[in-house]
Symmetry: C2
Subunit: 257 residues, 2 copies
């Protein structure tokens, strides 16, 4: 899967979709309990499965939306690509995230959704999701909960902007670590981070040049080593203290069963 250009590859839908919702269910179980029936109902609502190469724009703002996207593999971003001015990423998504569940209510999005790495996604047609919310009230509440946690993350991103560059980046790394750990993609020592410094810049609201200097500073103070597609954290608590990071806003306190 090469970087520039490329198009989406629709895959067959004939196989069992249980594994597709694995990460999602793992994330849900950190917040509430998921019954077998609910899990099956989710898997049954999966429509198409697609693969997109890094750089692709999956969904464009202001277009009618007829499905919601579950990210299975890779990372993608929600971003404003305003005509003038530089790109601003407003949300980062990882495996198990319902990227645009809110489009079920809003009908069209106010932002684009683009792949930061090669990604694999599952599309949930709105008609199927809608029916799900009607027949499975508890599941409906959990989906509502997901959108509300999404908003909690947004708030933390807003608050982050009033801090220094180093704290911003450290905080972002802390958030990624917790979210990735929920779906088994991070340990206390670090995680795979296959993003460019430009991507990080657009998330932190900084320039790529300044991100570079900031990462060097974090490396020199032994807070976090971000290099070669890897984020290494020598001392997680030390990094969290530096960033003023408190993971409660992710509402993932419940230990998985």
């Amino acid at each position: 899967m090469s970087r520039p250009g490329g198009v989406a590859s629709p895959l067959t839908n004939m196989e069992n979709n249980g594994h597709v919702v694995d990460a999602l269910v793992r994330a849900l179980e950190r917040r509430d309990s998921v019954s077998e029936r609910e899990r099956d109902a989710l898997a049954a609502a999966v429509g198409e499965i697609r693969i997109h190469p890094a750089g692709n724009t999956l969904i464009r703002a202001h277009r009618p939306a007829e499905a919601s996207t579950l990210l299975i593999e890779g990372m993608l971003a929600r971003e404003f690509s305003s005509a003038v001015g530089r790109r601003q990423i407003v949300a980062l998504h990882i495996a198990g995230d319902f990227v645009d569940l809110h489009s079920l209510l809003l009908k069209k999005l106010d932002h684009d959704v683009t792949a930061l790495t090669d990604v694999k996604v599952a599309l949930f047609p709105h008609v199927a999701l809608r029916r799900l919310t009607e027949t499975e009230p508890h599941l409906a509440r959990m989906l509502w909960l997901l959108t509300v946690i999404d908003a909690a993350v947004h708030r933390e991103w807003i608050a982050r902007t009033s801090h220094s560059a180093a704290v911003k980046v450290a905080h972002l790394l802390c958030e990624m670590q917790v979210r990735l750990a929920i779906v088994g993609l991070a340990t206390d020592q670090g995680f795979v981070l296959d993003l460019t410094q430009g991507d990080l810049a657009d998330m932190a609201g900084l320039t790529a040049v300044h991100i570079n200097r900031t990462l060097r500073k974090l490396r020199e103070s032994e807070l976090a080593i971000v290099r070669d597609g890897l984020a290494s954290i020598p001392d997680l608590q030390k990094l969290r203290d530096f960033a003023g990071f408190d993971p409660t806003y992710l509402y993932a306190e419940q230990t998985p069963r």
Copy 2:
């Protein structure tokens, strides 16, 4: 109602609560249609009505929440009051806003809710709201929609941070104008804005000193005159162009009936 100190005044609940949900219903009608029954159901779910003086903290983070707050009059803010570092406001609320509807799902909030002006609020016990979502599915979807629009506003606040101070403030004023206009509290020429420059600073992520200089600049370029508790807008389109403001993210396109 004086500024500092002061405590909440619980009012009687014996009267008809129809007018309490007026602004809320007006806001809902810009997004969907509200039936008489739904309106009555909302009014019936109102619990206590309270008045708080400016400066009061209505809700503290991390405490169990048993009711959601509808703002009837005045303005209040959701803010992180982190131990060290300055206060960051992550959301501004006006009449008709459900301030902490998300606490219905989250059980506890990640932020404080404080009054920026004297405010009048209605408390909706979670048990009543919960029952409402079960008996009125369409209303439940509209409440979900409200939390999702809330998140859309959050995203715009994130994106705002990568712009210059003047654009930030101008954009904030544009947003206020639209939201206040929805509930009849603003015209194209301006609105009552009884906040301190410190409040605006904490919303824009700037210092009070710099807000002061920025407001002067906006005044001198005849984009917006913010003074004496009033925001005057000589030319709304000009201000919007300057701010790069596009109101579609507020999803209030439907004209009220």
